[in-house]
Amino acid sequence: MTDFSLILANLFSRKLRAILMLVAIFFAFLIFGVLAGVQNGFNNIGGAAGENRLVTINKINFTQPMPISYIERIRAVEGVARASYANWFGGYYQEGKNQIVTFAIDPEFYMDIYATDYKLSADQRAAFLADRSGLLVGQKLAERWGWKLGDRIPLSSNIYTNKNTGKQTWDFTIVGILEPAQENADTSVAFFHHAYFNESVTFGQDTAGWIVIETTDKALNTDVSKRVDAMFANSPAETATDTEKAFNQAFVGQLGNITLIVTLVVGAAFATILMIVGNTMVMAVRERTKEIGVMKTLGFPSGRIFKMVLGESLLLAMLGGLPALGVAAVLLTMMRKAVGFPGLALTLDFTALGIAIMLALGLLTGIVPAWNALRLNIVTALGRQ
């Protein structure tokens, strides 16, 4: 028997109570783990790659287009390695509710810039460049709808009308399947030629929805952004350029103050178990008053007893919290696969935070009973004189 096994025996001396405490702690940390994953997803929209990617949009708003002539001027700016453009198509498949994230892109450079996210084989890329009505679909999208290479599919737009047919549908041939090039890449997307788009829309010709810029060095991000915006200041379509990450975060940030909600819910959960476990530990140790007195009688120093009681609380917090973080990680992985929202994962820093909270919980719930045990007078503890 070691001090540890003694602590364990004491903790489970009342099995039902210990299990109930563990369950309460488990759920509190489960909530923490899952919400930490959500928070992380929110903090890391856009993934790790692309730190030297900038997005240029119309300063008024991202739904206003920019003249397509901007792209050549931007490509000439110092510090710009590559630049490409895309338009939001507002696509859907067959019915309005089957929304498909579709972009009309500049075929040469867009896929190159986003090679960090999407893997495209060389021959598929060649096929795309050769076929104006070619469509590149992400792996996830293809799986969802059962599309394969060579399929001819119609995609409709809820914004634009096809002037060739008078309807809102365009026909495409699938010439490439995009695989994810990094863990966080979202392959529920489709890309087609901007030229195909441009020649058949009834309005919005020769415009670019946004322009993506790859700088030669991420240290130049701010400078390049300023230069691009300065170039188009006082023109009919002024621009606003920012890092891709900032752009994405600002967008999701409009959903609401997610950080606040996460903090409040997690706070409520922890406040609750702090009360429950704290009170129970005080009660549990008080029930062992006599036993503690006997331990002291046997010669156990007060300090050692103090450490053992505190150890009990810490052990309780760990036994309840660590499995919860494990389950949270599994749940987040399942959610990530279902929703396709990259970044929905329990990262190292949040795990460390969770463990720190476990230690804090153990200390806070154990300090009072441990102190009581430390100061316990042997004679009083053993009962009447």
Partner: protein, 228 residues
């Protein structure tokens, strides 16, 4: 025979409200090594307090307590803890075993205060349980045992670290006659065969007969009575 433990001018007083209650005053006693002493007296006479002082779990208000040349009254709490672990075994009226531990682990507790390895500890526990005749109950929990069996486990716990002195507070108070006799015989054995000095507080005259010396404590004074 050398004096193992002695009290000189021992006094125990405490303040209750505005009154000062004196348990005893100017108490002197000497116990030789190898003695088996029974301390009797009416309730409230301070028998248990005296035992507590001898065991270092309570402090005298004044006076000196000397054990094998060391002054207990001058030791700090930490020093007293260490001294107890090495020199004293306690046996209580209500056994005071840890309900969360089985018999073997209960007996092993005092050994956690030594630097013995787990193998050594295990063999000592086995020996102690064998002495009290409970080797086959090593894995049983206190709630699965009778009063007499629990007390025997408590005795095993008290001797496992081989202390010089055993302090017993009404060890048979909760037991029937037959079981009490068994326990007392065992104490006698420990005294005669293993040379343990035993100080037993009891109110049972039958129990006192097992001791070699009986002291009566009344109103803070001793009256000696030779064992019958």
């Amino acid at each position: 025979m050398t004096a193992l433990i002695s009290i000189q001018g021992g006094a125990k007083r405490f303040v209750k409200g505005r009154e000062t209650i004196t348990i005893f005053d100017h108490l002197d006693m000497t116990i030789e090594a190898g003695d088996f002493i029974a301390i009797m007296g009416p309730s409230g006479s301070g028998k248990t307090t005296l035992l507590n002082l001898l065991g270092g779990i309570d402090r005298a208000t004044s006076g000196s307590i000397t054990f094998a040349g060391q002054r207990l009254d001058q030791m700090s709490e930490g020093q007293l803890s260490n001294w107890r672990a090495a020199n004293v075994g306690f046996i209580f009226q209500f056994y005071n075993l840890m309900p969360a531990l089985n018999a073997a682990r209960n007996v092993e507790l005092p050994l956690l205060l030594t630097s013995l390895g787990s193998g050594e500890r295990r063999s000592r526990v086995e020996t102690a349980l064998k002495i009290v005749g409970l080797a086959e109950r090593a894995k049983h929990y206190p709630r699965e045992m009778s009063g007499g069996q629990q007390q025997r486990v408590a005795i095993a716990r008290a001797i496992v670290a081989d202390p010089k002195m055993l302090l017993c507070d009404e060890p048979t108070g909760d037991l029937d006659r037959k079981t009490a006799d068994e326990i007392l015989s065992m104490l006698q054995l420990l005294n005669k065969e293993m040379g343990k000095t035993i100080i037993m507080v009891t109110h049972d005259p039958e129990a006192a007969r097992y001791a070699s010396r009986v002291l009566h404590l009344d109103k803070g004074r001793f009256v000696e009575q030779v064992a019958a």
